[in-house]
């Protein structure tokens, strides 16, 4: 099984105030992104705010429709899905969100929260549902009496475990993790990261982890995709990208991440300027106004997305 995006674009209309006269322009949140996640692997998607990471996740979760491009599940385009395909898709692709304080309904008991993704009409009896809930709660390491309790009775780390249990309950193949540890205390992050890794190994899950925390992404990811201003700038095997980034943006992003020891203080590449405005992105390569290795053609020609080395793709005029 494979989840694939081909040339995915998502533009949001920019309307002026209360006027009903159409859009003044478009926010190009995602502008032609192609990625795939194969069974059992972890794709890390890194980039800064405004790079389109979360929009990509929303498209994969069918929470937004793409402006153009297509999403393939098992070779079949989501656009051609029938009712049954949607049920199958939603069961196979689940999500865990950043903040377990807002992603769990405070008025529902944990048992109800975790059982909610289970389809109502597939003939599961109440005891069967309760048994499945107990199973996944045990998988994520929550106490047996949890189903009767409310989310506020749990700590941040435990709440994120509830969210993970809810994602697991439908026997998914793919889980989209949107900043899964960013809202948690430092001492709790390791517990959740280890749990995610363990679940992947035992259940054969594929993850798509969206993170601005490069260290957390590195810990889980097997492949890495770097995004900038709505486009992919580089993909490749995770360790290879960390060891020798190709795109100057990847290089700067990795060098801005701070290593955990003072003796590793090193010359950082400090980028000037900021992430461009998605309404009017720069012509040519979107990174060229900030790029330390800019070439004359970068401001006019958009670099082509291609395989520069084995399994290493980038869009940059340097290669």
């Amino acid at each position: 099984m494979k989840l694939e995006a081909i040339g995915l674009k998502k533009y949001f209309p920019l309307t002026s105030g209360f006027s009903l006269r159409g859009a003044r322009g478009w926010v190009k949140a995602l502008d032609g992104v192609s990625v795939q996640v194969a069974e059992g692997e972890t794709l890390g998607i890194v980039g800064e705010s405004g790079s389109g990471k979360t929009t990509l996740a929303k498209l994969f979760l069918l929470l937004e429709r793409p402006t153009s491009g297509s999403l393939l599940f098992d070779g079949k385009a989501v656009g051609d899905f029938g009712r049954e395909d949607f049920v199958r898709y939603r069961r196979a692709v689940q999500a865990v969100f950043q903040d377990p304080y807002s992603s769990l309904n405070p008025r529902m008991r944990v048992g109800q929260i975790v059982a909610e993704p289970l389809p109502r009409d597939n003939g599961m009896s109440r005891p069967m549902v309760a048994q499945r809930v107990a199973e996944v709660l045990q998988l994520v390491g929550l106490p047996r009496e949890s189903p009767a309790l409310y989310p506020h009775e749990f700590s941040g780390g435990q709440r994120q475990r509830i969210a993970i249990a809810r994602a697991l309950v439908t026997y998914p193949k793919f889980i989209i993790l949107d900043e899964p540890v960013s809202a948690l205390d430092v001492s709790i992050r390791a517990q959740i990261l280890n749990l995610l890794k363990h679940l992947q190994e035992t259940l054969g899950l594929a993850y798509m982890i969206i993170s601005h925390d490069l260290a957390a992404a590195r810990y889980l990811a097997t492949r890495l995709a770097v995004m900038y201003a709505g486009k992919l700038v580089e993909t490749g095997e995770c360790d290879a990208v960390y060891a020798a980034p190709l795109h100057p943006y990847t290089e700067a992003l990795l060098s801005a991440a701070l290593p955990l020891h003072p003796s590793a203080r090193r010359q950082r590449i400090v980028l000037a300027g900021e992430v461009p405005n998605p309404v009017n992105p720069p012509a040519g390569c979107r990174f060229h106004p900030r790029c330390p290795r800019v070439l004359p053609q970068c401001s006019s020609q958009e670099p082509e997305w291609r395989e520069v080395k084995a399994e290493r793709f980038t869009a940059c005029h340097l290669y």
């Binding site: 700590s155 001492s187 517990q191 590195r218 991440a257 203080r265 400090v270």
Partner: protein, 330 residues
């Protein structure tokens, strides 16, 4: 060790919150010193007391629930806890300035940036008119805000996150304070913008000679820019030393566990070492060491008495019963 007298001496600071649920000891006996031009990191998890420590230094603890119940805060020899509120107003912004986590909430959306920077300068230095404008421009330029002349008339929503944090730093540094308290200043910023900001902060510190207390939970930032570190847990400093000492020879089990449980961009780890359990409930602290229930090196004495601070090396100390010599000091 330095010869000069320290800029800031905090002795046995205690700030409690009195609530219906009982007394929450948010800060429970914190002591440290800071010299001019030095950068001290206060690290810890949420609820460890780092932010309340900072608020106590400027006497902005939310009252009436919160109260500073003991200790001394000496800034250049004067005890801030003895000052009247009118006197404190002359200290805040002039001698001690603060930068908070989220510049979008710490800046006033209804006033221009120029007005907000100008307010501080006007109040503390009594400048008006052209000289005031000159000082405001200088403050903005020092934090490299491009086109400062036009930016003066803009509102905070017209700035990006990184620029907003520079504006609030410009406000903080406009009256040349001796001490800057930066409470998670880069948490709301992207990584590349964080790098820009930290770089700029170091530069401004070097030229202005201001001492910085940097509150953070990110050991990467600590490693990158600070001189000394104080690790906090449940309202107390459990370990303090120079940044190199603490990273090279973490001497409290909590510090050791924290450093081992973090994924590092520099290396791939097969398995992260977890810290079991949960951060403690401050209203129901155990009698002995609050980290004991989660500690791999727990001994019977840990549940009975809070450990003394034991020197590990010059300027490096940890509060732990497992540290050599701890029992002799008790």
């Amino acid at each position: 060790m330095r010869e000069s007298s320290p800029l800031l001496v905090v002795e046995d600071l205690k700030t409690y919150f009195f609530t219906r649920r009982g007394v929450t000891k948010a800060v429970d006996g914190v002591s440290f010193t800071l010299h001019a031009g030095e950068t001290l990191a206060l690290v810890g998890e949420s609820g460890s007391g780092k932010s309340v420590t900072c608020l106590s230094l400027v006497r902005l603890v939310p009252e009436p629930a919160g109260r500073i119940v003991g200790g001394r805060v000496l800034l250049e020899g004067e005890d801030l806890l003895q000052k009247s509120s009118a006197e404190m107003r002359r200290v805040r912004g002039k001698k001690i300035a603060m930068v908070l986590q989220d510049p979008l909430t710490s800046l006033n959306p209804a006033l221009t940036i120029g007005t907000q920077v100008g307010e501080v300068v006007r109040l503390h230095q009594g400048l008006r008119g052209a000289p005031l404008r000159e000082r405001v421009l200088e403050a903005l330029r020092r934090l490299r805000i491009p086109a400062a002349g036009t930016r003066l008339r803009h509102y905070s929503h017209q700035f990006s996150g990184g620029m907003r944090q520079r504006v609030s730093s410009a406000i903080a540094l406009s009256c040349a304070p001796r001490l800057l308290i930066a409470d998670e200043p880069t948490t709301a910023l992207d990584v590349t913008i964080q790098a820009q900001y930290l770089e700029l902060l170091k530069e401004v510190q070097a030229s202005a000679g201001v001492a910085i207390i940097l509150v953070t939970h990110d050991f990467g930032i600590v490693a990158a820019i600070t001189d000394r570190v104080a690790v906090m847990y449940a309202g107390r400093i459990v370990e303090m030393g120079s940044t190199l000492q603490v990273f090279d020879n973490p001497s409290h089990p909590y510090t050791r566990a924290l450093l081992r449980c973090l994924p590092d961009v520099g290396l791939k780890r097969e398995q992260l070492v977890e810290i079991g359990g949960q951060p403690p409930d401050l209203a129901r602290l155990p009698q002995g060491c609050p980290f004991a229930p989660r500690c791999p090196e727990r001994q019977p004495i840990c549940d009975e008495t809070y450990p003394p601070s034991v020197p590990v090396a010059g300027g490096h100390a940890a509060s732990c019963w497992a540290a050599p010599g701890a029992k002799a000091r008790a």
